[in-house]
């Protein structure tokens, strides 16, 4: 009886109802996010076996630092099969990480710089009854698959692509240009296009929230339109800009489809080697260690960025 009433009190409490409400989502997050993440972190400290997806469950740090070994098991005993360097010790991974970060920086910069005027235009110059139409139009690229959009850029920028064949047929060039397809620029263009709506929407929302009388106040207090933008609009739009930067920066570091398709495998990024280690080379501990390292680096960069902009994020409306 006592237990019953306690149970009854518990189920009636707002906290319980709150947890009950989010439990499907929480369960989903636990199973599909936390569990795989824990697995990857666990694997990154284990040893690699030579069998398919074989892992030697023995704690070690060499997947990160120092020299490591893959093991062959024969008759229950371990024998060294092959040596390799840990993720932080191998200069290859350092170089790839830097290249990935560089690509992401460029993509983020290009996306946010191009997205801001679009968001500004929709928020400030489009009639209120047409704004939802504009947002709808902006999301049209999402109607097609990400892969299709990436291939589209290959068709445009590729060796026999639209640009090259157009220039060839016009006689402007005599041989297809290679610098427009297999290079960082092509990857940046493709990714920037793919992530543009992700950047436009948060910036648009933060611009929409700005009380227009603040801009009038800026001009009333003697500032030109440009200075009012600089001193009022931009600081107040910063939460949206920070959101856009994070939304673009974080996933692009992990993107491996675009470098594969656009770069033709010649310009791998960090995600491509993770994929390779996990599947083709079948060294899951090393792949996991690279993945965890990349995650930590991206997390720190994002954290530093948020920290640097925290004075803008504190502002309540």
């Amino acid at each position: 009886m006592n237990l019953n009433s306690r149970w009854g009190r518990l189920t009636r409490s707002p906290a319980f109802n709150g947890y009950a409400l989010i439990s499907p989502t929480a369960l989903y997050a636990l199973l599909l996010l936390a569990a795989p993440l824990a697995t990857v972190i666990y694997l990154s400290f284990m040893g690699d076996g030579t069998g398919v997806h074989q892992v030697i469950h023995q704690f070690q740090l060499c997947n990160y630092v120092g020299d490591c070994n893959s093991y062959r098991t024969t008759d229950g005993t371990l024998a060294v099969a092959e040596g390799y360097k840990g993720a932080w010790s191998d200069p290859l991974y350092q170089a790839l990480m830097l290249r990935s970060l560089g690509v992401s920086f460029l993509v983020t910069l290009a996306t946010v710089v191009l997205a801001f005027p679009v968001a500004y235009f929709v928020s400030f110059f489009v009639a209120p009854n047409k704004k939802s139409l504009w947002l709808f139009l902006i999301t049209i690229p999402f109607w097609t698959s990400y892969l299709v959009r990436v291939f589209l850029w290959k068709v445009i920028l590729g060796y026999n692509g639209v640009v090259n064949s157009g220039l060839l047929s016009l006689g402007i060039i005599s041989e297809p240009l290679t610098w427009i397809n297999v290079n960082i620029g092509a990857i940046v263009v493709t990714l920037a296009h793919a992530y543009a709506p992700f950047a436009i929407l948060p910036i648009f929302v933060s611009l929409e929230k700005i009380d227009r009388s603040l801009l009038e106040a800026g001009s009333d207090l003697g500032e030109s339109a440009l200075m009012t933008f600089w001193r009022v609009t931009l600081p107040l739009a910063m939460p949206g800009v920070v959101g856009a930067v994070l939304i673009v920066f974080i996933p692009t570091v992990g993107d491996y489809v675009t470098p594969d398709i656009i770069g033709g495998g010649k310009l791998p990024l960090i995600a491509n080697v993770i994929q390779k280690q996990m599947l083709a080379i079948d060294n899951m501990p090393l792949g996991s260690a690279v993945a965890v390292s990349a995650m930590l680096i991206v997390g720190s960069v994002a954290g530093l960025f948020v920290l640097a902009n925290r004075r803008f994020l504190k502002v309540k409306k």
Partner: protein, 363 residues
């Protein structure tokens, strides 16, 4: 020496598409004056204020500030500053940064500017608030910040767009008095937009009452209250009773009128401030100009009889709706509740004293 007005408005028209928002505004606002634009919502008072501030272009007419044409002069180049209805306090800045916002191009040193900011904050009663985050302020404090931010630039004209409407009654009444004191202290021309007639009467040197894009009457508060030019103005400012009247003659600056329920009397032609409209004439009078006589009290001028229909007790005042003999609609009479004067019951018969000098004729 005749002083040029601070602001001259000459036949100002403003269209929003087909909508005629300002229909030929003519007004001169004197330097150092506390001027109010009073009217119901949608009458164009805020539009007029915004045309003075430079936020709205006018379709035709002339706006002059301090003898300079304002055509093509943007808001940031005008010698006006505004206190917005929403106060428009920058939420990402501190109180001091808000107040000092307009000082960026001021040639003074930073230390002098900081001193000016501190002085401005002290003037509005926010001494020591400089370091606070602006978004954490209360409504009354925001308003003071907005005032300090505008006044620190020493504008020729301060524009106030319903600055008190967001405050509760007590705070509003305090701020009214403070604003009047502040205006006297700084000597700047204040233009206040309000829909609250009481606020306009309390604060202004002169009031322009606006209806549908036109100024219906521009006068000092007392004239506006005692001698409204039209029934519409009379109705908007305070309460006014109206009784049908017939004009019997006009001679030597006097008008003879027959008022329903009051009888025949002579009034001065000054008591007919409005233009002749040719319609039916009526007599208006304020609730406090009639007196309910108690037993044995004699009227100083004229008296009539009636019956109390409704009693509304306000503490210091009692409002009576009295049906005068021979009149269908009751008139409102307000009486101060003084010791020894009993509050009448509903249905009581009473005598009402009145004087011809308090009547206003509309025709």
């Amino acid at each position: 020496m005749t002083q040029r007005p601070m602001i001259e408005l000459k036949d100002v028209h403003k269209y929003y598409g087909d909508y005629h928002a300002l229909r030929g505004i003519n007004a001169d606002i004197k330097a150092g004056e506390f001027f109010s634009l009073l009217g119901p919502s949608g009458c164009g008072k805020t539009t007029l204020l915004r045309t003075i501030a430079g936020f709205e272009d006018i379709t035709s007419g002339v706006v002059m500030i301090d003898a300079k044409h304002m055509e093509g002069v943007p808001a940031n180049k005008r010698p006006t500053n505004m206190v917005f209805q929403s106060y428009a306090i920058f939420p990402h800045l501190t109180v001091a940064q808000n107040v000092g916002f307009g000082l960026r191009r001021d040639p003074r040193s930073q230390a002098e500017k900081d001193k000016a900011v501190a002085e401005a904050l002290e003037m509005v009663g926010l001494k020591g608030f400089g370091a606070r985050a602006a978004h954490a302020l209360s409504g009354g404090q925001r308003q003071r910040v907005a005032l300090a931010r505008a006044l620190i630039l020493k504008p020729k004209v301060l524009l106030l767009d319903e600055p008190l409407s967001a405050l509760d009654k007590k705070l509003r009444e305090n701020m009214q008095v403070e604003l009047i004191k502040l205006q006297r202290q700084v000597g700047i021309t204040f233009i206040l937009v309000t829909h609250d007639q009481e606020e306009a009467l309390v604060m202004s040197d002169r009031i322009a009452v606006m209806f549908e894009g036109e100024i219906a009457q521009l006068d000092d508060p007392e004239t506006l209250y005692r001698l409204p030019k039209s029934r519409k103005v009379a109705d908007f400012i305070g309460h006014m009773n109206f009784l049908p009247a017939a004009i019997h003659g006009e001679a030597n600056g006097e008008i003879e009128v027959e008022v329903l329920g009051l009888g025949r009397c002579h009034i001065s032609d000054k008591q007919a401030p409005g233009a002749v409209s040719g319609g039916e004439a009526s007599i208006g009078f304020r609730p406090e100009t009639l007196t309910i006589l108690y037993e044995g009290q004699a009227a100083t001028d004229r008296e009539t009889t009636g019956k109390v229909e409704e009693v509304v007790y306000y503490g210091d005042m009692t409002y009576y709706d009295v049906k005068l003999d021979g009149v269908a609609d009751p008139v409102r009479i307000s009486m101060r509740n003084v010791p020894g004067r009993p509050v009448l019951e509903r249905g009581a018969s009473t005598r009402v004293a009145w004087s011809a000098s308090a009547l206003v004729l509309f025709r």
